[in-house]
Amino acid sequence: MRSTLLVAIHVFRDSVRDKVLYSIVAFAIILMASSFLMGQLTAGQDVKIIKDLGLAAMSLFGLFIAIFIGVGLVSREIERRSIYAVLAKPVLRHEFIVGKYLGLVGTLFVNLAVMAIAYYGVLEYMALTLPAGAFTGGPPATDPRLLLAVGLIGAELALVTAIALFWSSFSSSALLSAAFTAGLWVAGQFGADLRNFDQVVASPVAVWLARGLYYVLPNFAAFDIKAQVVHGATVSGDYMAATLAYAMAYIAMLIVAAVLVFSRRDFK
């Protein structure tokens, strides 16, 4: 157990300093700041587009980060054989992989937090410079409910990282792992379509397959409450709890699978 934490801290220290992550986060922040300009074009909807764009940027760039750290860092470690020295130490393979996951998720959350702070910075600036009498209907600029969306984005990305880690625990090709992970993310957006397949296709076999896929594939669309929080609609505590529990269960399943694969793997 202690070793797991040691691995996690070490992985965190190593990944957090990675220069690629700096670029991705910087890019996201620049995008958020420039959404300010876009806000001037929308006949009174300035705040909405800044909120939308900020959340979308966090979601998209966060996705890049998750795939990069989940696939890139693990494959790189195996490819460059940094892993040999570590596994020769008194550390069990499962401790290593769980620790690795925790360290990666820590890095992910730190990057997400940086983006969230920049996001609120832009919104706060907007709120302070809003001309009096302009359209202020709807939720406030620095609505704390936005954090709920950020929270679910975090959970979603933790799940993506787990998927990426799972793939790279047995695949040697970083590109393939990245492609599969991205593909699963896209597929997971279409949950509603899969569930309602019977409205589109007549064949009962296809419908049954689609339903099965709906339950098996990670349902990423459920983590998307961006539109709700921007419009100030309430998101129930139950919903948040259920979605987070789903994420944790799915992640646990993936990590167990990754541990099983990893424990038996030959490092050629």
């Binding site: 040691l6 190593d14 054989r81 940094s82 040999y84 020769a88 008194p90 550390v91 030959d266 490092f267």
Partner: protein, 315 residues
């Protein structure tokens, strides 16, 4: 109790996706290494040296056979506290410094606080890393990385150390440092198991060696047993003589070669008398620059056995 012991250690791979063919990386290796020895594990590329080391470190799993380190089966985590491993061409975590990396490993071994700091500092001194220890590993040259690799292998004062090509990437100065280090380890009673193709080092360092080729053990034993000290001739370098005079010095069966600047290389056959050759040099008023015995080296022995193994394999 042996420090290291393998019985019938075998590793087969399946190569190819559509019609997998078996590839024999290692076949039936039986090995014993006594504690305190320096054991050289030698062989050409692809012979199975790295495979054996990885099997011992449980980076890969054997197809059949077993291995033990310090009397416990390989893979026993408690044993890993007492051993060290230097992988071939090590790479580490780019964004950390050498100090941070070693501190991490030290913590994994269970060293805390002041003891950890002392150990890390001491081992970095021992491998010759000074102020560089605070730079990130991405900035290190191959030689420096090799030193870091050695440092992490010796951090826990192991009883048994496994070194995969420890001299690779080092300049002659570095190689001498490593040789000295290995000798110091032996003085401390550490068992050293290393694989190499630099046979001259193996000859001077090792008490025992094993030679593998094509995944099989070709031979094993002490250097003295395998390569008895026997003079097979003499190697002279002379100068200030004309070519005719040189031929006279060497006699009818000698091999003569001209080196630059009026120097000549004379190789006397086994039967020739060294004394008469030397006196002939004096007679002709030549200069004797060097005299060396020609013996079988480990390299000769190694090449001979490997070629034999190859022929058996093919034929």
């Amino acid at each position: 109790m042996d420090a290291i012991r393998t019985e019938g250690l075998t590793k087969h791979y399946s190569v190819g996706f559509w019609r997998p063919r078996p590839y024999v990386a290692l076949e039936g290796l039986d090995l014993e290494v006594a504690p305190g020895e320096i054991f050289g594990f030698l062989g050409p590329n692809g012979a199975g040296k790295t495979t054996t080391l990885k099997l011992l470190m449980q980076l890969i799993f054997p197809t059949s056979g077993r291995a033990e380190i310090l009397g416990r089966p390989v893979g026993d985590v408690s044993v890993r506290r007492r051993i060290g491993y230097l992988p071939e061409n090590p790479f580490f975590y780019d964004n950390l410094t050498a100090e941070e990396l070693l501190a991490y490993f030290a913590r994994l071994f269970g060293f805390h606080g002041q003891e950890r700091a002392t150990r890390v500092s001491r081992i970095l001194d021992e491998v010759g890393l000074g102020a560089e220890r605070r730079f990130q590993l991405r900035k290190y040259s191959k030689g420096m990385l090799q030193r870091v690799g050695l440092a992490q292998a010796l951090l826990n004062d192991p009883e048994v150390v496994f070194l995969d090509e420890p001299m690779s990437g080092l300049d002659p100065l570095g190689r001498r440092d490593v040789r000295d280090l290995i000798l110091r380890l032996r003085d401390r009673g550490t068992t050293v198991f290393f694989s190499s193709h630099i046979l001259s080092d193996a000859e001077t360092l090792c008490s025992r060696v094993a030679i593998v080729a094509h995944g099989k053990l070709v031979t094993a034993g002490s250097v003295a047993e395998l390569v008895p000290f026997r003079v097979r001739g003499w190697d002279l370098i002379v100068s200030n003589l004309t070519i005719a005079q040189v031929h006279d010095v060497g006699g009818p069966d000698a091999v003569v070669r001209e080196i630059a600047d009026g120097r000549h290389h004379v190789i006397l056959p086994e039967a020739a008398s060294l004394d008469s050759a030397l006196s002939r040099v004096t007679t002709h008023r030549g200069q004797l620059l060097s005299v060396n015995p020609v013996r079988d080296t480990l390299e000769d022995y190694f090449l001979a056995r490997v070629r034999q193994a190859e022929r058996r394999e093919v034929g």
